[in-house]
């Protein structure tokens, strides 16, 4: 119990009293890092949840949770690779290399924006007018362009309880689940499970985001969190975030397997599929809460993708203004949302697993470059 509480304290790292200017500066850095960790966690969790809801569940119901379980392996590998990077400010060439991650962010943004428009405007309001995508895209751009340097991270932090509460309330319908769906335990066999897992392997690329955000270097005091004995290894806050995202997504996938109606969403549209979490809700309030959960989750994650993209570009090329960078980033998903959504999502789906490749490549190259610099 002590270890768990020390992990939590360590991930917050802000409650410690401070008495000097240096400690105060360090606390500011820790708080900033914590905010960005949360933002990156929202990205990872949303991508996992979207993958499970839009593609995994309908095709491999019984293999879903095993496939989800397997996702932790690439995530840990990626975490290890990025963890090995030095915590100091990267040199300029490494900052340019990080731009390799931009296509991943674009894919993320497309996967978020198209369903958001479909779900909110086409599904909830039965509108098919194209200007809603422009309006939503404009507000998305405006949010990022006017949010200042860390506004998105701090702002999304405000919604964390709302999202968690929505999720928890939505999962209240667990009790109405059908446990027989879990059997046979290994579903359609190991190859089929592996195949299902491979489809979502790219969802874990967001682990890299945990490391491109500001990172906290060391504890405030030597005695911090501090019942831990000298020399004992402590868990990294980014690993706690990763584990938390994965666990939450696991719970959601279990819920999908147990509760969601099989077969009814096979031919459904993108927006329609997002209703899947609400379909078995026992009351109208829970149904609405599930909808509100998606309504808040998607814009928060959208703002996060644009914010991370802007941060990457700003660090590599400080000259272009934030408004222009974010506008160029937002334009692509908004333009894609004008195409038939099913076609876009089918094409995007093929590319999604490959998000892991730039994430690994980028981490590896930067590691080599920084090692060579050190030598």
């Amino acid at each position: 119990m002590n270890t768990v509480s020390s992990w939590l304290k360590r991930s917050a790292r802000t409650k410690t009293d401070i008495h000097t200017q240096a400690e105060e500066k360090q606390q500011r850095m820790h708080s900033l890092a914590a905010s960005y960790r949360l933002l990156a966690s929202v990205q990872i969790f949303t991508q996992l949840l979207l993958w499970a809801t839009l593609w995994l569940f309908e095709e491999a119901v019984q293999a879903s949770w095993q496939a989800m379980l397997l996702q932790i392996a690439p995530a840990i590998l990626l975490w290890g690779l990025w963890r090995a990077l030095p915590q100091r400010r990267l040199q300029k060439s490494s900052r340019w290399i990080r731009l390799l991650l931009l296509p991943c962010l674009w894919l993320d943004a497309t996967v978020l924006f198209v369903p958001f428009v479909q779900f909110s405007f086409r599904q909830l309001l039965s509108w098919s007018v194209p200007w809603v995508a422009v309006v939503a895209g404009f507000i998305w751009w405006l949010t990022v362009a006017t949010s200042g340097s860390h506004g998105v991270a701090f702002g999304v932090q405000q919604f964390k309880w709302l999202l968690l509460a929505g999720l928890a309330l939505s999962l209240l319908t667990f009790s109405s689940g059908d446990p027989t769906r879990l059997f046979p335990f290994w579903a359609r066999g190991i190859p089929a499970t592996l195949q299902a897992a491979l489809g979502g392997i790219g969802s874990m690329w967001g682990v890299a985001l945990l490391f491109i955000a500001p990172r906290d270097a060391r504890p405030l005091h030597e005695s911090d969190y501090g019942q831990t004995k000298r020399g004992l290894r402590r868990m990294d806050p980014s690993l706690i975030c990763l584990a938390a995202c994965w666990l939450l997504a696991m719970v959601c996938v279990f819920w999908l397997v147990l509760c969601a109606p099989i077969g009814q969403t096979a031919d459904a549209g993108v927006g329609e599929k997002l209703f899947v979490m609400a379909w078995r809700s026992s009351g109208v309030i829970l149904f609405q809460i599930s909808i509100m959960f998606w309504l808040f989750l998607l814009p928060c994650a959208l703002a996060g993708t644009a914010s991370f993209a802007t941060m990457l570009v700003e660090e590599a090329m400080p000259r272009p203004p934030r408004a222009l960078t974010s506008l160029l980033f937002v334009l692509v998903p908004v333009a894609l949302s004008f195409l038939p959504s099913e076609a876009v999502m089918q094409v995007v789906r093929v590319a999604l697993p490959w998000r892991l490749v730039p994430a690994v490549l980028c981490g590896g190259i930067i590691l080599l470059v920084e090692r060579r610099r050190k030598q």
Binding site: T14, Q21, Q27, L32, S120, T146, G151, F296
Partner: protein, 500 residues
Amino acid sequence: MTAEASLARNMRWFTQKLLLEQNNDIVKRPFHALGLECMLLYMEGMCSGQLIAQHVLRPLLRCREKVSGAEALTLSQMNLLEASEVKTETNMDAAAEELLRGQCLVLLDSVKEIIIVDARSYVHRPVMIPQTENVVIGPHEAFNESLRDNLTLLHRKLQSENFIVKIMAVGQKASIQLALCYLDGICPADTVQQLTQRLEGAAVDCVQSGGMLEQLIEDDPYAPLPQVLGTERPDRAVSFLLEGQAVVLLDGSPRALTMPVSIWHLFHAPDDSAMRWQYGTFMRLLRLLGATLALLLPAVFVSVVIFQPMVLPATLLTSILESRATVPISLFGEALLMLTVFNLINEAGTRIPGLMGSSLGLVSALILGSAAVDAALVSPLLIIVVALSGLGSYALPDYSLSMAFRLLQLALLVAGGLMGFPGVVLVLVYTVIRVAGMRSLGHPFLAPCAPARQHNPDLVMRAPIFRQRLRAYLANPAQTDRAEGRMRRFSPRRKEGPRK
């Protein structure tokens, strides 16, 4: 321009600079004293004629000695002039500014310096009760328009050797005095330096009010919320000083401007700390509820009824639809109309003086409301919604925050009316992220929540005073503890002496 030894030349300069031939408000009183030609200059109405006659003119005129140059200056300053504050100035521009601020100038022939005598006495409002920050428990004094009185109020409440007051001037054509106040050691040097830079950088012809100054020094003029907190209460200003913030008092303005602040400061009322913690917490929760109602109620109501009516219970939905059956305009238009009328009544009530204002508000609300319902222009339920959101906005303790909420309320209503819940959520997410990106004197606006910083349990829930050991994160890190040791050094159940 430096003062010269010739009275005639100095007077020629003053005549040109202050347009003395045209300006009848500046009194010129030539006289002979100490064997020299002398001149007395002061602004009519800004100085006390009696004080000048008794303590400046009489001693000089009665003196029989004949001296000149530095000797005359020393004799006048050290022996003759009886005012409490007498200083000298060689710079003619500075002397002219002092004259315009109400000081009395004494010019002696053959003396290269100008004597400045403080004989200020002008009409101003006395210390009265606060107009916009009323409290039930707590002091009832408010700042007035006199900088000197306001500083006195602060000095009386904060008797500390660390209380520093820096007098500065702002305005290029007509400069106004202001005082930058802070607690040395508790307020970080960086805060003082930044604020001084901003005050010095406010390059306008004249600053007429605290509100104008606020707009000149705030971080983000396009942000939806105010980043400077204005208070008319000396006790509140003192509490900010003790938290490590800086306070700016402007001559002619009854509001003290505080920087840096966070959004939580805007939500806190002056008597929160004066009340017991349970009551304070309850009031804060009520206020938070009011803020939520003010911001979201009209937008959510319109969104639900227009786009998501299935959320409502059947009986409520039926009653809403029945009440709207005879209304000729859409619900969105109706809500927009009602909010506009509400804001109009509010504005008219504010402009009309005293009791008439509140009467007008009451009469407008009653007569217009019932007439609109009778004429089937609006539905009664919408009137309840608008009235509740209006009440919520009045519960906000800061007037600027209340105004910001009213504007955001309209933006959310438009989003909700046109795009339903998705629109409301998009605008809400935008607003929160925009506010999260705001800064006040460089400090994040949502701190200590985002980014998390050390703080007392005093944001929404207010813990007992003795649990609030820490100063705000805005204070100097070396002075974060409010007291050494326990803050309640006794046990009500024990009979022995105080505990350490």
